[in-house]
């Protein structure tokens, strides 16, 4: 496990006072959080408190009406998502959104075929996927839509890894998965952490989030209510009970 990021170093990503609306309904009321380089940060809260919207606002899929997103010290608020992806921000949405009619390999190529990636680097990245997700290698010529839910989740994560991101926004990766698949997601989060990739993890699975994260933010009603080191929290803590009802 990495040590806490030094307070003097500018964090990888800094979100300041983000407000968003869906139509007229106010969803986020000034969300502020930060993620350090290589840090795994958990974002917990009940359904509908704005966790997914926070990730979408970072990724430019929902326009914040107010607030800033800083990436490596530069403002990336309102930047188009393709530019964010090229800067090193990858997004794995809750509903996975793999390209159903594209084969597994083609899904990976959407992230892999970028400027400045040499053929040998592409090969390395694909070999890495083959190593960590053997099932995807087996199904490389199958259409994404024919994969099982768990395999689609693996593909969504693998596709994000093709971007060689500095941070992955991971939205409920274990939702609806069998226990075996959940432990695989857990493994891959640890692998990414070991490689120095930062992760902003939105989850409902509290024990898993506390295990893999260094820091935890608790959200309620569109804003951050509590912030703690993961090592200081237990599943049974009153604060967890208060915001998650576990």
């Amino acid at each position: 496990m990495n040590a806490e990021p030094e307070p003097m170093r500018p964090p990888l990503m800094q979100i300041g006072d983000i407000h968003t609306y869906y139509g007229k309904s106010h969803v986020l009321y000034g969300v502020s959080l930060e993620v350090g380089r290589g840090e795994v940060v958990g974002l917990l809260g009940r359904n509908g408190v704005g966790k997914s919207t926070t990730l979408k606002a970072i990724m430019g899929l929902v326009r914040p009406s107010q607030g800033t997103v800083l990436f490596e010290g530069q403002s990336v608020t309102h930047m188009q998502s393709d530019k964010l992806a090229r800067l090193g921000i990858a997004y794995v949405p809750e509903d996975r959104r793999i390209f159903r009619l594209l084969t597994v390999t083609e899904n990976l190529r959407t992230g892999l075929d970028r400027h400045g990636v040499t053929d040998s680097r592409k090969k390395e990245l694909l070999e890495k996927i083959q190593h960590y997700f053997p099932v995807l290698a087996e199904r490389r010529n199958q259409a994404g839509g024919t994969l099982s839910g768990g395999e689609q989740q693996m593909l969504a994560i693998a596709r994000a890894m093709m971007l060689e991101p500095k941070i992955i926004l991971l939205d409920e990766p274990t939702e609806g998965l069998m226990p075996r698949m959940v432990s695989q997601v857990r493994q891959i989060v640890d692998v990414l952490h070991g490689e120095g990739v930062a992760i902003l993890l939105v989850e409902q699975n509290v024990p898993l989030t506390l295990e893999v994260s260094q820091r935890i933010y608790l959200m309620e009603k569109g804003t951050i209510k509590h912030h703690a080191l993961a090592s200081e929290l237990r599943v049974t803590d009153a604060v967890i009970h208060q915001y998650l009802g576990v």
Binding site: L61, D82, A85, P93, R97, R100, T110, D113, R114
Partner: protein
């Protein structure tokens, strides 16, 4: 006698079907990727033919005219997309229908003003004939069918194997996620509009020698193109080719019995039956 007529009409139907397929595949590509019903597509066909006429007059080479017309109209398509459609994307589809319909009227009247009402001709690049039963059948018609097949085949290979083809197909399926994967979606959309327009222009030049070039020639084709896109399944390239050939063959056979003008009714009958019984298209295997 009847067998001979049927064989001749089969060849005619396939030739017309291949040109139609070339027009319709551009249309279906544009519809599939941005949900835009492009009423100006027929004018890309018509302007392509006119650029062909002008370049032919200047160079005397049909194939040079063919290439220049395709590239010019592809550039025009990209420009039209940026100025007119891009600001409207994501709004009610009625706005893009009205916008492209407006473009269509402007371009038609521009062509009438610029070139006048008299049809222009592009000579056939290959003037030979071969004996086909009791007919002298022009080789050029077969060349049209082959050229169209080659262009559509090239497009298919491009979509299937090229990186840009993968970008196009990913954008077709999920524009938002494609962009989040770093695909430059605005550039992809512009390119698709340019490719579709260029294909319409290519078919306009190929078709020019058969009937002459005039300002209203795009209308028939865009109408039939829409029928093909609906019958073949919106956004399906293979479906468009199959539907183009089906409809053209049916019309060709029908004109054995009724006048060619009345034979057009067949297309509409197929359209109505498709909408009634297979609204997602005849040739779509997995309706989404």
């Amino acid at each position: 006698m009847l067998i001979e007529q049927i064989l001749i009409q089969t060849v005619n139907g396939i030739v017309t079907g291949m040109i139609l397929a070339l027009v319709a595949s551009g249309l279906t590509l544009i519809f599939g990727i941005m949900d835009v019903v492009n009423f100006a597509h027929g004018e890309m066909f018509m302007l392509g033919a006119y650029v062909g006429v002008i370049t032919y007059a200047a160079t005397g080479d049909f194939w040079v005219a063919f290439v220049i017309a395709t590239l010019t109209i592809a550039a025009l398509g990209a420009a039209l997309y940026w100025t007119t459609l891009r600001p409207l994307l994501g709004r009610d589809s009625l706005t893009t229908i009205l916008a492209t319909f407006g473009i269509s009227l402007v371009l038609q009247n521009y062509a009438l003003w610029q070139f006048g009402p008299v049809a222009r001709r592009i000579p056939e690049p290959v003037s030979g004939h071969f004996t086909f039963f009791y007919l002298d059948y022009p080789w050029y018609r077969l060349i049209i069918a082959l050229m169209s097949a080659a262009i559509i085949g090239g497009l298919w290979l491009f979509l299937k194997f090229g990186t840009f083809g993968i970008w196009i197909r990913a954008t077709m399926q999920d524009r938002v996620m494609a962009q989040a994967m770093g695909i430059p979606v605005p550039m992809v959309l512009t390119a698709v509009f340019a490719i579709g327009s260029g294909m319409a222009a290519a078919s306009g030049v190929l078709f020019g020698p058969l009937v002459g070039v005039n300002h209203a020639m795009g209308l028939d084709w865009v109408l039939k193109g829409f029928i093909v896109v609906v019958v073949g399944g919106m956004g399906s390239l293979g479906g468009s080719v199959a539907a183009s050939i089906l409809i053209s063959l049916l019309e060709a056979y029908a004109s054995l019995f009724v006048s060619p003008a009345q034979a057009v009714i067949v297309s509409f009958v197929v359209l109505i039956l498709t909408l009634l019984f297979r609204p997602t298209g005849l040739f779509v295997r997995t309706p989404r």
